[in-house]
Symmetry: C2
Subunit: 606 residues, 2 copies
């Protein structure tokens, strides 16, 4: 039944050689991998205005130079990540760049922050999308946590179905959102140019503002930088592209940069020109849509696509997280299960892990995930900075043709991203300090996992000639009575070895005597040892008995096997009707003792 449900939700399993068919065209990749970055246009410019509003509406003109700053930062990021893509076409982005050029620890720092970041992205963006939905349908408000969890569930299932299928579903809303914003901007600019908008709505650029400070401007700038999260996603997910993957990825990145820059510039300028102030009850984009498009169908179209893209921004995390986890797992810093492709060729374990983790976050914060936004800006700018530094080291040490130019691009990038990181820590320390706790924890886990795998590898390696000799075999058969199952098992044991011992655990003396007499009468040619159990446990006396046998066996170079007769009922529910002693014995012995544990099944026919 479980299988049927799984098939229905996820689809038929795909053969390994169908992998190429699951890969993305540029157009679909743009939709899937840019939704995070593009959606941030819906709140990035607003964040800037919110900080400026603390001084007064006169300060709003500062949003123009701040936006210019953000656009420069964006350009630097796009240019330098372009170089990352060509240099590391296997994906892995900041993690790989930092690890190869700066060392393992910086690499893990970059990888760890990105992993945590994607979890935050999913939680934050789905919560934001849910807020948009419940604002429209107030009656749904009490269920916002349930709705958010349900949405994460749907996105998880879509991703388990595979990349191309989710791309088909998800591409439309992304392009509709871009289209909607372009309509607003074009209509707004047209009205501005044709003089339909009064000139006195906005303060002139350069107007002196009382109470403005550098700290405040930096804070506004760093808030606006939240619009740049998601830019790195493409560099982590290059293997999902059709061949030639690096070129396609680089072009998609460029396309995304252009669209993102245009939307950012347009929205920020228009908001300034129309003199829009952030409100508690209505978003900046919604106000702009009202002013430019009025109150009709077009307005609701904008709102609907905005809600949709906020939810879909989560999907970027679902593409990038499993690929990054795969890279970390392949390098033995995360459990091996993250390297396994599921039925639909996605890294199912990564997808499921991300889904569950973000649901837990949503439930823990009861959907109020706004507090997490600064955290996730930091989580992105750490790997941004590390990736730039890694690239600089790469150019300096390898010195390919034109390395100086390439290096200067990354150098500028490094300085800018590091500055943003510093600004974030300085202006928002009260909100971002938790990274200083959980990043070390994540790094500790990476190291711990790595040490275990290294130790295992060492112990598994075959060294020289094999020493151990086995002279003979002892087979122990625990019996609970004289039955057909026991009969078959004893018979089999005798065919394997001539040293078979049956063991019976008795709960009292009467029981012991009865069994010994019955065994004698049966006369199967195998010796019976009866053990005593004062505490009604079968495993305990058996384990003690085995200790003695094993000591002797070691002296004589015998290998000990415990062969457990087990009947298997016809229907699964019938298992509850039988003591699971066989299972208990098996677990205990395998875990504690150095004996081979075998099960001889006897399938009931009715």
């Amino acid at each position: 039944m479980f299988t049927t449900i799984k098939r229905l939700l996820i689809g038929r399993p795909l053969r390994s050689n169908e992998l190429e068919g699951q890969k993305l065209t540029k157009l679909k990749a743009l939709a899937i991998l840019s939704s995070d970055a593009l959606s941030s246009v819906a709140y990035g410019p607003e964040q800037v205005l919110i900080v400026l509003a603390t001084v007064g509406t006169l300060a709003f003109w500062y949003s123009i130079p701040i936006t210019v700053g953000i656009l420069i930062l964006l350009a630097a990021l796009i240019l330098s990540y372009r170089q990352v893509i060509y240099s590391y076409p296997q994906g892995g982005g900041a993690y790989l760049v930092s690890k190869e050029n700066l060392g393992v620890t910086p690499g893990l720092l970059a990888g760890g922050s990105l992993l945590v970041d994607y979890i935050l992205t999913v939680a934050v963006s789905v919560s934001a999308g849910t807020d948009a939905i419940t604002s429209a349908f107030q009656s749904l408000h009490p269920y916002s946590v349930q709705i958010a969890v349900f949405l994460v569930l749907i996105i998880t299932i879509l991703n388990l179905r595979g990349l191309t299928e989710s791309a088909n579903v998800l591409a439309y809303p992304v392009y509709l959102f871009v289209f909607a914003l372009i309509v607003i901007i074009v209509v707004g600019l047209f009205k501005t140019v044709t003089g339909q908008v009064p000139q006195n709505l906005h303060p002139h650029i350069g107007t002196p503002v009382a109470g403005i400070s550098l700290f405040l401007l930096l804070k506004a700038f760093s808030s606006g930088c939240s619009a740049l999260t998601g830019v790195e996603a493409i560099s982590n997910a290059i293997p999902n592209f059709r061949d030639p993957a690096p070129r396609n990825a680089a072009r998609t990145l460029a396309m995304m940069g252009i669209i993102l820059a245009s939307l950012l510039a347009g929205i920020s300028f228009l908001a300034y020109w129309l003199g829009i102030a952030p409100k508690e009850t209505e978003t900046v984009v919604s106000q702009m849509a009202h002013r430019t498009l009025g109150n009709g169908v077009l307005y609701y179209f904008v709102q609907a696509t905005t809600a949709l893209i906020l939810v879909l921004a989560a999907n970027t995390g679902f593409s990038a997280f499993p690929q990054l986890a795969f890279n970390l797992a392949r390098d033995k810093f995360m459990p091996r299960m993250f390297t396994i492709r599921g039925d639909r060729l996605g890294y199912s374990n990564g997808i499921i892990f991300l889904g569950v983790a973000s649901m837990i976050l949503i439930i823990a914060f009861q959907g109020n995930t706004e507090r997490l936004i600064p955290l996730y800006a930091v989580g992105v700018f750490i790997p941004f900075t590390l990736a730039q530094c890694g690239m600089i080291v790469k150019w300096v040490t390898q010195r390919p043709r034109g390395w100086a130019g390439k290096m200067s691009v990354n150098f500028v990038g490094a300085i800018i991203t590091f500055s943003v990181l510093a600004i974030l820590f300085i202006t928002k320390f009260t909100q971002v300090w938790p990274v200083l706790i959980f990043l070390p924890i994540v790094m500790f886990i990476f190291r711990k996992v790595n040490r275990h795998y290294e130790a295992v590898g060492e112990q598994l390696r075959i060294k020289g000639v094999f020493q151990e000799e086995i002279h003979s075999n002892v087979i122990i058969v625990p019996v609970a009575g004289i039955t057909t199952v026991v009969e078959r098992t004893i018979n089999y044991a005798k065919s394997l070895s001539d040293q078979v011992i049956a063991v019976y655990v008795a709960f009292d003396h009467e029981d012991e005597k009865r069994m010994e007499e019955k065994w004698k009468e049966w006369d199967c040619g195998v010796r019976l040892v009866t053990l005593h159990s004062s505490y009604r446990s079968i495993v305990q006396p058996l384990a003690k008995f085995l200790e003695i046998i094993q000591r002797k066996a070691k002296e004589n170079k015998y290998q000990v096997m415990v062969l457990i007769p087990q009947f298997i009922p016809k229907k699964r529910w019938q298992n509850i009707l039988h003591n699971q002693s066989a299972l208990l014995i098996r677990m205990r012995l395998l875990w504690e003792k150095d004996v081979v544990v075998a099960t001889m099944p006897y399938h009931f026919k009715k």
Copy 2:
């Protein structure tokens, strides 16, 4: 860690021969096994008045003849259960009596209703006790479900600790409650006799009442009969008594009958004499306590002991249910696990099952379990009636000395209990119809379980000479690479049989070729078969391969064993870092195929 917590809550395990020390003296047994019956005094008389109040306060005098009726019923029950105890000293009460004399189906009907009944008892009485607590501390009211569940948990743990220990804790409240009620009754009677209570508070007996009907009187009577639930508990739990168990049990039953009758008579008479009418906000016992004891410490003492004994009434169920379940399980109508004594010599599985089932009921009904009360009266009177009928059959067929007298006791008992049952069905059908659904379900499960055990027994029985011959052994070793673990396993397999085949599942051709070359180079003397997996599953191709091998093996009378190399990490958490393929392979093969599955453990040292 689990073990430590278990020890702390439940205590050290007891040896089987410490069983006698766990048995009950009469005084402790009275406390443990009568709390259900005695506690019903707190609400039984009130139930009668509530029904009469629908006609008017004038009708309250009918409570006297109704109480007389209930006392006659009580006497009949006590006398006949005395005979049950002597005839069936092994416990099992109504179940055993009905099964032996009336047949299996009536026996299961009696046993099934009692089992369901004990679950209801626990849920209802703990909820009632919780209500008493939250009435006193209003601020706790929103948490009543949590409190009730917590109380069930405590009682469950006490019972897992063992009978004598819970008796020590529970005996005081029961005797305090009895003492408190006796104080009320004595003080009340004293005031009545000394003329401190006005004569005009109550209607004279025989006052004509308009609107009274036989139906209503029967309904009042059947409501009052809820005070008799719990009377049968002692007959189910005879093995818990010290030797001579039957005599001690019979005396305890008599003591309980006398106490119960005195309290019932006293409370009912005093309530009538003081003219107390049932109120929504205050119980009848509470009103009586107010009138007789005033508003001081004594009043609160009565209330506290009442709350306590309502909770403890649940404990009767915890003594009787596991014993009854044991009897049903020994007769193969319930899963065998109910026959196993736990660490503290109680039937832990029965205790835990009862605890969990009643918690589920409490949560499902959100603590409003009053609706279940009529259900559980029916659940008691079905086995009452069946037990009486069974005893009649026994006397008639066996005819021991003085059988006629004994039979007449049970005959009267049978007629009375059957009448009460009929009255319950007639007057409260809308509340008790669910028994007609769930009793057949329970009986169906009993039968189904029994059929399975019978079939298993048949298949396990050894018949004549053993036919199967094993000419030789084939051992299949699934390998995932060439490691020390594989080396050891192959070496061991070779010591068992000269027909060893290693199997490797390859995910692509490259992989296949590489492994084959490495294997050739290693040269361990065992043939390698590589299988292909298009869907990245190891189990699937292995199962297919085994089908072929098994077909050949059957022809040649070979037995097949799959020997799985498995490394076992030093710490349990490290298991998550390794694919659990060994486990998956084992489960699948054991369940579906007729092969022996063995695990060769390799314990990592670091």
